[in-house]
């Protein structure tokens, strides 16, 4: 039987894809926050062809925070990100970056913003260096600043070796990194990345994730993605957008936690909500249960004791890999209008 009183440090558990113990978020090593958010969006409303697609989005992002922005396709993610980055204007509401209002002082606000849209905005006929030079110019960097910024951002995105290559001839992973490099070039306070790892192979995904992780010290980052494990690996906060509303917005270490256990032997009528640290439980069949827990460690201890007291064999106890997935599914699934 694989079990421990302290599952957080025991590496012997069977782990279906999920790391153990402290969840691998950045929440633990986030830089000290200052009071003023770097990005603030208030009551964003946007219509498309008479149809309201955003219903009052409120967001705040502080230095050192990485916000994972989730939502089903068509929920309004890209619209929101376009509004946050000044590509679209909202019908109502306001966005401010580092205290600069996007409508009233767009230049100041956009000077502090780096944006990678879903499709990287690249000129295929330019070399990486020419492209970055152009982006530096657009952001108002002079020649010497641009040169220094290019060296730094190429290093950050591991592009030094391809500076003189035409973007047309680069692989998708490199192109994506060129897209990230342009977003970081001018040292913006706020970086918005729309699906930065989509369509990349596993090695490229690792490289892009490492780049994003390195950003978190000095920037506030918004990361839109469909990959929930990516949010768990990179983000300190998660927001789920559904039908143009923020349906969920929490620090990732406060998102609901869950465990899966496998008890051999009959366990009739177990009252899971009576077990310490457990909110409720459901049977998955064949002695397997999924428990929603409020305190993982306490619940693990209690389940172990329960197994011993009731003479049940505890064959497996692991953190549920997909608590976030459950939240996502609960909030957004079974909604016919998604397919309308």
């Amino acid at each position: 039987m694989l079990v421990s009183k302290n599952p957080g440090v025991n590496a012997g558990f069977k782990i279906p894809g999920a790391p153990l113990g402290k969840r691998p978020t950045l929440a633990n090593n986030v830089a000290p926050m200052v009071d003023d958010p770097l990005l603030r969006a208030q009551n964003l409303i946007r219509y498309y062809h008479g149809r309201q697609v955003l219903h009052g989005i409120d967001l705040e992002l502080h230095r050192g925070e990485v916000l994972g922005f989730l939502g089903p396709n068509g929920a309004g993610k890209s619209t929101t990100m376009n509004i946050l980055s000044g590509v679209l204007a909202p019908h109502q509401g306001r966005v401010s970056i580092c205290g600069h209002d996007m409508t009233q002082h767009p230049r100041l606000a956009k000077g502090q913003l780096g944006y990678l849209p879903e499709v990287p905005p690249l000129y295929l006929d330019a070399t990486v260096d020419e492209y970055l030079q152009y982006c530096a110019g657009l952001r108002g960097l002079d020649r010497s600043q641009a040169a220094a910024a290019m060296v730094k951002s190429k290093k950050e995105c591991d592009l030094t070796s391809v500076g003189s290559r035409l973007i047309r001839n680069l692989s998708k992973g490199f192109r994506q990194r060129v897209g990230i490099a342009q977003a970081l070039l001018h040292g913006p306070q706020v970086v918005i990345l729309d699906e930065p790892t989509s369509g990349l192979d596993p090695n490229q995904i690792r490289a892009v994730r490492a780049t994003i992780l390195a950003l978190t010290q000095n920037h506030a980052v918004i990361l839109s993605t469909h990959v929930l494990s990516e949010v768990q690996a990179l983000c300190s906060r998660v927001a789920i957008l559904h039908h143009g509303r923020i349906a969920f917005n929490q620090r990732i270490d406060q998102t609901p936690d869950a465990m899966q256990i496998h008890l051999a032997g009959a366990a009739p009528g177990l009252q899971w909500d009576q077990v310490a640290g457990v909110r409720n439980g459901e049977s998955l069949g064949n002695g397997r249960y999924r428990l929603e827990v409020t305190d993982f460690d306490a619940a693990a201890d209690a389940v172990t004791r329960l197994a011993v007291e009731q003479n049940l064999a505890l064959r497996e106890l692991s953190r549920d890999a997909s608590p976030l997935e459950q939240v996502f599914v609960d909030l957004t699934c079974n909604d016919e209008s998604d397919f309308a």
Binding site: S85, V87, Y115, P120, P121, E130, C135, L138
Partner: protein, 249 residues
Amino acid sequence: MIRIIALREATALFRSPLAWSVLAMAQFVLAFQFLAQIETYLHFADKLRKMPEAPGVTEVIMTPTIGVSAVLMLFFIPVITMSSLSTERRSGTLALLYSSPVTSWQIVAGKYLGISALLAVLWVIVALMPLTLAWGAAIDFGLYLAGLLALFLLMSTYAAVGLMFSAMFAHSSVAAIMTFGVLSGLWLIDWATRLGQDVTLFNYLSSLNHFQRLAHGMLVTTDLAYFMIIIASTLYLTTWRLDGDRKPL
């Protein structure tokens, strides 16, 4: 900022085979026309010499050459301008411009100047060829410069109209067709008056009328204003179109 966008536009244009093929074809067609015009002049040279106040080399060779190049621009300029903003829209690079601290006006001005750089080369090709006559003949430089000014204004106008349609449509071929349609419409709009009807509005709208007066050496404020008004208003509409992408309608 405008300079940076202009530089990027000009670089992209000169990197495309399109620019070079346009320049090559323009050179070829104009050379043919120029030589044909010289032939015509030589053919009538004796008769012309006997005429009092006979038209000179400039009038017989240069002005028609500039006139033909004006017609060529109807075809070439829509092709040059068509992808300027439409390709940026289709490939998503407009988002880069929109999320940068750049105003719509700066984008439009940069694009326009970038296109103008290629058009300047085209203009110089037209200007240099007749100038070779100066080695062997007396040139009426006033008339020559007036013709070049007319061509310059016409090309600038065409570029502004082309840029506007390029901002409007994501498909560059649609932008080209629309530009060509409108420009040839403006060129021919006074045909109704040739059938005997005198419609002053059509006369005024016709770019051919304004161009011809200028090309024949008549510097009239109305003609200058005509081109200026079209350039200013189409560039304004282009800016308005880009603003419209962002601002709620």
